[in-house]
Protein backbone atom coordinates (compact mmCIF):
# COMPACT_ATOMS: atom_id res chain seq x y z
CA UNK A 1 0.00 0.00 0.00
CA UNK A 2 1.20 3.50 -0.86
CA UNK A 3 0.90 6.55 1.41
CA UNK A 4 -1.89 7.94 -0.78
CA UNK A 5 -3.96 4.74 -0.43
CA UNK A 6 -3.42 4.64 3.32
CA UNK A 7 -4.45 8.27 3.80
CA UNK A 8 -7.68 7.59 1.95
CA UNK A 9 -8.40 4.88 4.51
CA UNK A 10 -7.14 6.49 7.71
CA UNK A 11 -10.48 7.89 8.89
CA UNK A 12 -12.25 4.59 8.26
CA UNK A 13 -9.37 2.90 10.12
CA UNK A 14 -9.83 5.26 13.09
CA UNK A 15 -13.57 4.54 13.08
CA UNK A 16 -12.92 0.77 13.01
CA UNK A 17 -14.89 0.50 9.77
CA UNK A 18 -12.40 -1.45 7.65
CA UNK A 19 -12.35 -5.15 6.87
CA UNK A 20 -9.78 -7.17 8.82
CA UNK A 21 -7.50 -7.66 5.79
CA UNK A 22 -7.51 -3.94 4.93
CA UNK A 23 -6.87 -3.04 8.58
CA UNK A 24 -3.85 -5.36 8.54
CA UNK A 25 -2.54 -3.70 5.37
CA UNK A 26 -2.91 -0.25 6.95
CA UNK A 27 -1.20 -1.39 10.18
CA UNK A 28 1.72 -2.86 8.20
CA UNK A 29 2.17 0.42 6.32
CA UNK A 30 1.97 2.51 9.52
CA UNK A 31 4.71 0.41 11.13
CA UNK A 32 7.17 1.55 8.49
CA UNK A 33 5.95 5.08 7.62
CA UNK A 34 6.48 7.88 10.19
CA UNK A 35 4.74 10.45 7.94
CA UNK A 36 1.49 8.45 7.85
CA UNK A 37 1.76 7.78 11.60
CA UNK A 38 2.00 11.54 12.12
CA UNK A 39 -1.02 12.06 9.87
CA UNK A 40 -2.95 9.41 11.82
CA UNK A 41 -2.13 11.08 15.13
CA UNK A 42 -3.23 14.45 13.74
CA UNK A 43 -6.59 13.03 12.66
CA UNK A 44 -7.06 11.17 15.94
CA UNK A 45 -6.36 14.38 17.87
CA UNK A 46 -8.82 16.33 15.68
CA UNK A 47 -11.60 13.81 16.32
CA UNK A 48 -10.92 13.85 20.05
CA UNK A 49 -10.85 17.65 20.10
CA UNK A 50 -14.10 17.84 18.12
CA UNK A 51 -15.84 15.45 20.49
CA UNK A 52 -14.60 17.20 23.61
CA UNK A 53 -15.46 20.65 22.19
CA UNK A 54 -18.96 19.48 21.34
CA UNK A 55 -19.77 17.86 24.67
CA UNK A 56 -18.38 20.76 26.69
CA UNK A 57 -19.80 23.70 24.68
CA UNK A 58 -21.93 25.63 27.16
CA UNK A 59 -24.21 27.16 24.52
CA UNK A 60 -25.22 23.71 23.22
CA UNK A 61 -26.14 22.27 26.63
CA UNK A 62 -29.77 21.71 27.68
CA UNK A 63 -30.94 23.88 30.55
CA UNK A 64 -31.72 22.24 33.93
CA UNK A 65 -35.32 23.55 33.62
CA UNK A 66 -35.77 21.81 30.26
CA UNK A 67 -34.36 18.53 31.64
CA UNK A 68 -36.62 18.68 34.68
CA UNK A 69 -39.71 19.45 32.57
CA UNK A 70 -38.79 16.70 30.12
CA UNK A 71 -38.50 14.12 32.89
CA UNK A 72 -41.91 15.10 34.28
CA UNK A 73 -43.57 15.03 30.85
CA UNK A 74 -42.06 11.65 29.94
CA UNK A 75 -43.14 10.11 33.25
CA UNK A 76 -46.67 11.38 32.57
CA UNK A 77 -46.58 10.03 29.00
CA UNK A 78 -45.31 6.69 30.28
CA UNK A 79 -48.15 6.36 32.78
CA UNK A 80 -50.86 7.27 30.24
CA UNK A 81 -49.30 4.99 27.60
CA UNK A 82 -49.39 2.03 29.98
CA UNK A 83 -52.99 2.83 30.97
CA UNK A 84 -53.97 3.03 27.30
CA UNK A 85 -52.25 -0.29 26.50
CA UNK A 86 -53.86 -1.98 29.44
CA UNK A 87 -57.28 -0.58 28.39
CA UNK A 88 -56.68 -1.83 24.83
CA UNK A 89 -55.74 -5.25 26.16
CA UNK A 90 -58.90 -5.41 28.28
CA UNK A 91 -60.99 -4.12 25.39
CA UNK A 92 -59.33 -6.63 23.05
CA UNK A 93 -60.00 -9.48 25.46
CA UNK A 94 -63.64 -8.38 25.89
CA UNK A 95 -64.10 -8.05 22.12
CA UNK A 96 -62.59 -11.48 21.58
CA UNK A 97 -64.92 -12.93 24.19
CA UNK A 98 -67.97 -11.34 22.52
CA UNK A 99 -66.94 -12.59 19.09
CA UNK A 100 -66.42 -16.08 20.47
CA UNK A 101 -69.81 -16.00 22.17
CA UNK A 102 -71.60 -14.85 18.99
CA UNK A 103 -69.86 -17.43 16.87
CA UNK A 104 -70.99 -19.91 19.52
CA UNK A 105 -71.79 -23.44 18.53
CA UNK A 106 -71.19 -23.03 14.80
CA UNK A 107 -67.56 -22.14 15.19
CA UNK A 108 -66.85 -23.67 18.57
CA UNK A 109 -64.26 -26.11 17.34
CA UNK A 110 -62.53 -23.56 15.18
CA UNK A 111 -62.55 -20.98 17.99
CA UNK A 112 -61.12 -23.47 20.46
CA UNK A 113 -58.36 -24.32 18.02
CA UNK A 114 -57.59 -20.64 17.38
CA UNK A 115 -57.68 -19.92 21.07
CA UNK A 116 -55.27 -22.75 21.87
CA UNK A 117 -52.99 -21.66 19.04
CA UNK A 118 -53.18 -18.04 20.16
CA UNK A 119 -52.21 -19.08 23.68
CA UNK A 120 -49.28 -21.10 22.38
CA UNK A 121 -48.24 -18.18 20.14
CA UNK A 122 -48.31 -15.83 23.15
CA UNK A 123 -46.19 -18.29 25.11
CA UNK A 124 -43.76 -18.65 22.20
CA UNK A 125 -43.50 -14.84 21.96
CA UNK A 126 -43.03 -14.61 25.75
CA UNK A 127 -40.30 -17.25 25.61
CA UNK A 128 -38.53 -15.40 22.77
CA UNK A 129 -38.70 -12.13 24.69
CA UNK A 130 -37.68 -13.49 28.09
CA UNK A 131 -35.18 -16.12 26.98
CA UNK A 132 -33.53 -14.98 23.74
CA UNK A 133 -33.75 -11.21 24.32
CA UNK A 134 -33.69 -10.60 28.07
CA UNK A 135 -32.23 -13.84 29.50
CA UNK A 136 -34.87 -13.55 32.16
CA UNK A 137 -36.43 -17.02 32.53
CA UNK A 138 -37.25 -18.28 36.00
CA UNK A 139 -36.05 -21.79 35.16
CA UNK A 140 -32.58 -22.53 33.79
CA UNK A 141 -32.64 -23.86 30.17
CA UNK A 142 -31.55 -27.48 29.60
CA UNK A 143 -29.50 -28.93 26.80
CA UNK A 144 -31.62 -30.44 24.04
CA UNK A 145 -30.15 -33.87 24.81
CA UNK A 146 -31.16 -33.68 28.47
CA UNK A 147 -34.64 -32.36 27.60
CA UNK A 148 -35.01 -35.21 25.07
CA UNK A 149 -34.19 -37.76 27.78
CA UNK A 150 -36.52 -36.23 30.34
CA UNK A 151 -39.44 -34.70 28.41
CA UNK A 152 -39.66 -35.11 24.63
CA UNK A 153 -37.44 -37.45 22.61
CA UNK A 154 -38.07 -35.36 19.46
CA UNK A 155 -36.01 -32.48 20.86
CA UNK A 156 -32.81 -34.47 20.25
CA UNK A 157 -33.28 -34.10 16.50
CA UNK A 158 -32.70 -30.32 16.80
CA UNK A 159 -29.10 -30.77 17.92
CA UNK A 160 -28.20 -31.10 14.22
CA UNK A 161 -30.41 -28.25 12.91
CA UNK A 162 -28.41 -25.65 10.99
CA UNK A 163 -29.17 -22.07 9.95
CA UNK A 164 -31.35 -21.73 6.82
CA UNK A 165 -29.50 -20.79 3.64
CA UNK A 166 -30.44 -18.64 0.70
CA UNK A 167 -32.55 -16.00 2.45
CA UNK A 168 -32.28 -12.49 0.97
CA UNK A 169 -29.93 -10.16 2.88
CA UNK A 170 -28.49 -13.24 4.60
CA UNK A 171 -26.53 -14.92 6.01
CA UNK A 172 -28.33 -16.31 9.05
CA UNK A 173 -26.21 -17.05 12.13
CA UNK A 174 -27.18 -19.82 14.53
CA UNK A 175 -26.57 -18.49 18.05
CA UNK A 176 -27.95 -21.01 20.53
CA UNK A 177 -29.86 -24.32 20.93
CA UNK A 178 -31.49 -25.48 24.15
CA UNK A 179 -34.81 -26.37 25.76
CA UNK A 180 -36.61 -23.90 28.01
CA UNK A 181 -39.95 -23.44 29.78
CA UNK A 182 -42.24 -20.43 29.64
CA UNK A 183 -45.60 -20.29 31.45
CA UNK A 184 -45.56 -24.06 31.83
CA UNK A 185 -44.85 -24.82 28.14
CA UNK A 186 -41.62 -26.58 27.31
CA UNK A 187 -40.03 -25.69 23.99
CA UNK A 188 -37.04 -26.77 21.95
CA UNK A 189 -35.55 -23.34 21.30
CA UNK A 190 -33.12 -22.50 18.50
CA UNK A 191 -31.95 -18.88 18.32
CA UNK A 192 -30.72 -17.23 15.12
CA UNK A 193 -29.57 -13.77 14.07
CA UNK A 194 -30.88 -12.54 10.72
CA UNK A 195 -30.37 -8.99 9.37
CA UNK A 196 -29.33 -7.89 12.85
CA UNK A 197 -32.53 -9.19 14.51
CA UNK A 198 -32.89 -12.11 16.89
CA UNK A 199 -35.18 -14.83 15.53
CA UNK A 200 -36.43 -17.78 17.62
CA UNK A 201 -37.61 -21.14 16.39
CA UNK A 202 -39.69 -22.68 19.20
CA UNK A 203 -41.05 -26.21 18.93
CA UNK A 204 -43.48 -27.82 21.34
CA UNK A 205 -45.86 -30.80 21.44
CA UNK A 206 -49.31 -30.12 19.93
CA UNK A 207 -51.77 -31.69 17.55
CA UNK A 208 -53.76 -28.64 16.44
CA UNK A 209 -55.09 -29.25 12.94
CA UNK A 210 -53.06 -26.71 11.05
CA UNK A 211 -51.07 -27.39 7.93
CA UNK A 212 -47.36 -27.44 7.33
CA UNK A 213 -47.53 -24.11 5.46
CA UNK A 214 -46.61 -21.24 7.77
CA UNK A 215 -49.54 -19.21 9.05
CA UNK A 216 -49.16 -15.78 10.69
CA UNK A 217 -50.81 -15.48 14.11
CA UNK A 218 -51.87 -12.12 15.52
CA UNK A 219 -50.38 -11.23 18.93
CA UNK A 220 -50.10 -8.00 20.94
CA UNK A 221 -46.98 -5.87 20.64
CA UNK A 222 -44.25 -5.57 18.05
CA UNK A 223 -43.41 -9.25 17.62
CA UNK A 224 -44.50 -11.36 14.65
CA UNK A 225 -45.28 -15.05 15.02
CA UNK A 226 -45.61 -17.63 12.25
CA UNK A 227 -46.60 -21.22 12.99
CA UNK A 228 -46.76 -24.54 11.19
CA UNK A 229 -47.36 -28.16 12.15
CA UNK A 230 -44.76 -30.91 11.93
CA UNK A 231 -46.03 -34.36 12.88
CA UNK A 232 -47.26 -34.18 16.48
CA UNK A 233 -45.51 -30.89 17.12
CA UNK A 234 -46.06 -27.23 16.42
CA UNK A 235 -43.28 -24.87 15.39
CA UNK A 236 -43.35 -21.12 16.03
CA UNK A 237 -41.00 -18.60 14.41
CA UNK A 238 -40.86 -15.37 16.44
CA UNK A 239 -39.04 -12.06 15.90
CA UNK A 240 -39.51 -8.33 15.57
CA UNK A 241 -38.74 -8.56 11.85
CA UNK A 242 -41.51 -7.59 9.41
CA UNK A 243 -44.35 -10.08 8.79
CA UNK A 244 -43.00 -10.64 5.28
CA UNK A 245 -39.51 -11.48 6.57
CA UNK A 246 -40.89 -13.78 9.26
CA UNK A 247 -43.08 -15.61 6.73
CA UNK A 248 -40.03 -16.06 4.48
CA UNK A 249 -37.91 -17.28 7.39
CA UNK A 250 -40.65 -19.72 8.47
CA UNK A 251 -40.91 -21.03 4.88
CA UNK A 252 -37.20 -21.79 4.96
CA UNK A 253 -37.57 -23.68 8.27
CA UNK A 254 -40.47 -25.92 7.22
CA UNK A 255 -38.46 -28.59 5.37
CA UNK A 256 -35.73 -29.15 8.00
CA UNK A 257 -38.24 -29.14 10.89
CA UNK A 258 -40.82 -31.39 9.20
CA UNK A 259 -38.08 -33.78 8.11
CA UNK A 260 -37.00 -34.11 11.78
CA UNK A 261 -40.44 -34.45 13.31
CA UNK A 262 -42.74 -36.21 10.87
CA UNK A 263 -41.72 -39.68 12.00
CA UNK A 264 -41.48 -38.95 15.72
Amino acid sequence: MQCRDVRELLDAYLGDQLLVETTNDVVRHLETCPACRGELEGRRALRARLQSAFVSAVDLAPTPEFLKGLDTRLRGDSASLMTRRSWLRSWGAAAAAIVTAIAGGLFARSAARRSRLAELARNAAGDHQNCAIKFNLSERPLSLEEAARRYDAAFASFTSLTAPMGLPDGPVDLLERHSCVYEGHRFAHVVFRYRGHIVSLLVTGGTESIGSSPEMLPIDGALQVATFAAGRHLAFVVSDLSAEDIARFADAMVAPVVERLNNV
Binding site: A45, V55, L60, A61, P62, S78, K134, I198
Partner: protein, 179 residues
Protein backbone atom coordinates in the same frame (compact mmCIF):
# COMPACT_ATOMS: atom_id res chain seq x y z
CA UNK B 1 -43.50 -5.78 32.30
CA UNK B 2 -45.11 -3.55 34.96
CA UNK B 3 -45.57 0.19 34.40
CA UNK B 4 -42.82 1.02 36.87
CA UNK B 5 -40.32 -1.50 35.50
CA UNK B 6 -41.03 -0.37 31.90
CA UNK B 7 -40.31 3.20 32.92
CA UNK B 8 -37.17 2.16 34.80
CA UNK B 9 -35.86 0.28 31.71
CA UNK B 10 -36.54 3.34 29.53
CA UNK B 11 -34.94 5.66 32.08
CA UNK B 12 -31.81 3.50 32.38
CA UNK B 13 -31.35 2.96 28.65
CA UNK B 14 -32.43 6.26 27.09
CA UNK B 15 -32.00 9.14 29.53
CA UNK B 16 -28.16 8.98 29.69
CA UNK B 17 -28.12 10.01 26.01
CA UNK B 18 -30.33 13.09 26.37
CA UNK B 19 -27.47 15.56 26.86
CA UNK B 20 -25.67 14.59 23.64
CA UNK B 21 -28.94 14.28 21.74
CA UNK B 22 -29.88 17.79 22.79
CA UNK B 23 -26.48 19.15 21.76
CA UNK B 24 -26.91 17.61 18.31
CA UNK B 25 -30.43 19.10 17.99
CA UNK B 26 -29.14 22.48 19.14
CA UNK B 27 -26.31 22.39 16.63
CA UNK B 28 -28.61 21.45 13.77
CA UNK B 29 -31.49 23.80 14.60
CA UNK B 30 -29.44 26.76 15.90
CA UNK B 31 -32.46 27.69 17.97
CA UNK B 32 -33.08 26.59 21.56
CA UNK B 33 -36.88 26.44 21.36
CA UNK B 34 -36.75 24.37 18.15
CA UNK B 35 -34.13 22.06 19.67
CA UNK B 36 -36.21 21.57 22.84
CA UNK B 37 -39.29 20.75 20.74
CA UNK B 38 -37.38 18.31 18.58
CA UNK B 39 -35.77 16.49 21.51
CA UNK B 40 -39.06 16.27 23.38
CA UNK B 41 -40.81 14.84 20.31
CA UNK B 42 -37.93 12.40 19.77
CA UNK B 43 -38.10 11.09 23.33
CA UNK B 44 -41.90 10.83 23.28
CA UNK B 45 -41.65 8.74 20.13
CA UNK B 46 -38.83 6.67 21.66
CA UNK B 47 -41.02 5.99 24.70
CA UNK B 48 -43.90 4.82 22.51
CA UNK B 49 -41.60 2.60 20.43
CA UNK B 50 -39.37 1.40 23.27
CA UNK B 51 -40.71 -2.16 22.99
CA UNK B 52 -39.11 -2.24 19.52
CA UNK B 53 -35.65 -1.31 20.81
CA UNK B 54 -33.33 -4.32 21.06
CA UNK B 55 -31.35 -4.21 24.33
CA UNK B 56 -27.62 -4.40 23.74
CA UNK B 57 -27.76 -2.46 20.47
CA UNK B 58 -26.64 1.17 20.10
CA UNK B 59 -29.32 3.22 21.88
CA UNK B 60 -27.73 6.56 20.98
CA UNK B 61 -27.82 5.63 17.28
CA UNK B 62 -31.47 4.54 17.65
CA UNK B 63 -32.41 7.88 19.24
CA UNK B 64 -30.40 9.86 16.69
CA UNK B 65 -32.19 8.05 13.87
CA UNK B 66 -35.59 8.97 15.35
CA UNK B 67 -34.44 12.58 15.74
CA UNK B 68 -33.15 12.80 12.18
CA UNK B 69 -36.35 11.33 10.73
CA UNK B 70 -38.54 13.69 12.77
CA UNK B 71 -36.42 16.66 11.74
CA UNK B 72 -36.60 15.67 8.12
CA UNK B 73 -40.43 15.31 8.34
CA UNK B 74 -40.74 18.69 10.04
CA UNK B 75 -38.64 20.39 7.38
CA UNK B 76 -40.71 18.74 4.66
CA UNK B 77 -43.95 19.83 6.35
CA UNK B 78 -42.67 23.41 6.45
CA UNK B 79 -41.69 23.21 2.79
CA UNK B 80 -38.06 23.85 3.55
CA UNK B 81 -35.63 22.85 0.84
CA UNK B 82 -32.94 20.27 1.60
CA UNK B 83 -30.04 21.83 3.44
CA UNK B 84 -27.55 21.53 0.57
CA UNK B 85 -28.01 20.45 -3.00
CA UNK B 86 -25.77 17.87 -4.66
CA UNK B 87 -24.43 20.60 -6.94
CA UNK B 88 -23.22 22.65 -3.99
CA UNK B 89 -21.59 19.57 -2.50
CA UNK B 90 -19.75 19.00 -5.77
CA UNK B 91 -18.65 22.61 -5.98
CA UNK B 92 -17.23 22.51 -2.46
CA UNK B 93 -15.56 19.17 -3.06
CA UNK B 94 -13.87 20.44 -6.21
CA UNK B 95 -12.39 23.51 -4.50
CA UNK B 96 -10.07 21.25 -2.51
CA UNK B 97 -6.77 21.64 -4.28
CA UNK B 98 -4.65 21.23 -1.15
CA UNK B 99 -5.55 19.70 2.18
CA UNK B 100 -3.33 21.13 4.92
CA UNK B 101 -2.13 19.02 7.84
CA UNK B 102 -4.10 19.21 11.10
CA UNK B 103 -2.77 22.26 13.00
CA UNK B 104 -0.98 21.44 16.26
CA UNK B 105 -2.65 23.75 18.73
CA UNK B 106 -6.41 23.93 18.45
CA UNK B 107 -8.92 25.38 20.84
CA UNK B 108 -12.53 24.18 21.17
CA UNK B 109 -13.57 27.46 19.58
CA UNK B 110 -11.28 26.86 16.56
CA UNK B 111 -12.74 23.41 15.95
CA UNK B 112 -16.43 24.29 16.36
CA UNK B 113 -15.97 27.53 14.38
CA UNK B 114 -14.35 25.63 11.50
CA UNK B 115 -17.07 22.98 11.59
CA UNK B 116 -19.74 25.68 11.39
CA UNK B 117 -18.11 27.12 8.24
CA UNK B 118 -18.44 23.96 6.15
CA UNK B 119 -21.76 23.03 4.46
CA UNK B 120 -24.45 21.48 6.69
CA UNK B 121 -24.51 18.10 4.94
CA UNK B 122 -20.84 17.59 5.80
CA UNK B 123 -21.24 18.90 9.35
CA UNK B 124 -24.01 16.40 9.90
CA UNK B 125 -22.10 13.25 8.89
CA UNK B 126 -19.00 14.35 10.80
CA UNK B 127 -21.05 14.90 13.96
CA UNK B 128 -22.89 11.58 13.62
CA UNK B 129 -19.62 9.72 13.07
CA UNK B 130 -17.16 11.48 15.39
CA UNK B 131 -19.42 12.79 18.16
CA UNK B 132 -22.38 10.42 18.19
CA UNK B 133 -19.99 7.54 17.40
CA UNK B 134 -22.34 5.92 14.91
CA UNK B 135 -21.21 3.39 12.29
CA UNK B 136 -21.44 4.19 8.58
CA UNK B 137 -24.41 1.83 8.36
CA UNK B 138 -26.22 3.57 11.24
CA UNK B 139 -25.55 6.98 9.68
CA UNK B 140 -26.88 5.77 6.32
CA UNK B 141 -30.07 4.60 8.00
CA UNK B 142 -30.49 7.80 10.06
CA UNK B 143 -30.02 10.10 7.06
CA UNK B 144 -31.74 7.79 4.58
CA UNK B 145 -28.80 7.89 2.16
CA UNK B 146 -26.63 5.13 0.67
CA UNK B 147 -23.58 4.04 2.67
CA UNK B 148 -21.31 5.12 -0.21
CA UNK B 149 -22.66 8.67 0.12
CA UNK B 150 -21.91 8.58 3.86
CA UNK B 151 -18.32 7.63 3.10
CA UNK B 152 -17.80 10.24 0.40
CA UNK B 153 -19.40 12.99 2.52
CA UNK B 154 -17.20 12.07 5.46
CA UNK B 155 -14.09 12.12 3.33
CA UNK B 156 -14.90 15.45 1.70
CA UNK B 157 -16.23 16.91 4.95
CA UNK B 158 -13.03 16.12 6.81
CA UNK B 159 -10.94 17.67 4.07
CA UNK B 160 -13.10 20.80 4.17
CA UNK B 161 -12.80 20.90 7.95
CA UNK B 162 -9.03 20.81 7.69
CA UNK B 163 -9.04 23.56 5.07
CA UNK B 164 -11.24 25.63 7.38
CA UNK B 165 -8.97 24.88 10.34
CA UNK B 166 -5.86 25.72 8.32
CA UNK B 167 -7.32 29.11 7.44
CA UNK B 168 -8.29 29.68 11.04
CA UNK B 169 -4.85 28.70 12.33
CA UNK B 170 -3.08 30.85 9.70
CA UNK B 171 -5.28 33.81 10.53
CA UNK B 172 -4.71 33.36 14.28
CA UNK B 173 -0.93 33.13 13.74
CA UNK B 174 -1.02 36.26 11.56
CA UNK B 175 -2.93 38.14 14.29
CA UNK B 176 -0.41 37.03 16.93
CA UNK B 177 2.52 38.23 14.76
CA UNK B 178 1.04 41.65 14.14
CA UNK B 179 2.71 44.38 16.18
Amino acid sequence: MSDESAWRAFEAEVLPHVDRLFRLAMWLERDRAEAEDLVQETLTQALQSFHRFTPGTNCRAWLTTILQHLRSNRRRARNRAPVESAAIEERFAQTLAFVPPVPDHLTDEDVLGALRRIPDTYQQVILLCDVQEMTYKEIASALNIPIGTVMSRLHRGRELLRVALGGRAASAAHTREMP
